[in-house]
Symmetry: C2
Subunit: 110 residues, 2 copies
């Protein structure tokens, strides 16, 4: 029997370059990504603005999400998740510089 398997924490470490993004599931109305950040942040003034809902959990590391509305900043630690509504503009304001921040992000149509 052939199973599609993997490990969220099984990847080569990369430092200083781009964020690592791996697509885990691609469906018609669902995408799931594992993202690994290490000091990466969104460009100043850049906002994610997606027509899909996004559910995202931080599994290791630490980060701060920023939302345009009310300039809300939201600290994230391991296990923390947040549901981001469609077109809720947000960015990654900070990720830990020395620890790998592993995110699992699920984008889906309502």
């Amino acid at each position: 029997m052939q199973l599609q398997t993997g490990n969220l924490f099984g990847f080569e470490a990369k430092h200083g370059s781009e964020e690592r993004i791996d697509m885990l599931v691609t469906g018609q109305r669902l995408n799931m990504e594992r993202i690994v950040s290490m000091g990466h942040v969104s460009f100043e003034g850049f906002w994610y603005d997606d027509s899909r809902a996004e559910w995202v959990v931080l599994l290791t590391g630490a980060a701060v999400l920023e939302f345009e509305e009310d300039s809300t900043r939201h600290d994230m630690h391991p296990g923390d998740y947040v549901l981001i509504e469609p077109h809720c503009r947000h960015r990654v304001a900070w990720t830990h510089a020395d620890e790998q921040t592993v995110w699992l992000a699920i984008y889906y149509e309502r």
Copy 2:
């Protein structure tokens, strides 16, 4: 700004009773659950048989999944995920008796 947030590891411990299942996301074509097992297994002879695809990751603890096809047994440790195709009959053969096994399960239509 009101965010829908939570922590996957933030829950009251329960021992000996039912598995704990919390619905995290309910969409038209997507459900996401956090499941906490502690020694729980599927009943002997019981097989999950879902028309939806299931992507499931084990975040803490340890477990063994069993698949009807070829009587495949699949060990799971933290970070391990598996994609279970629709109608792929499976059961939970074992979960750690003394550690909480936290699963994140996503059921979706293709």
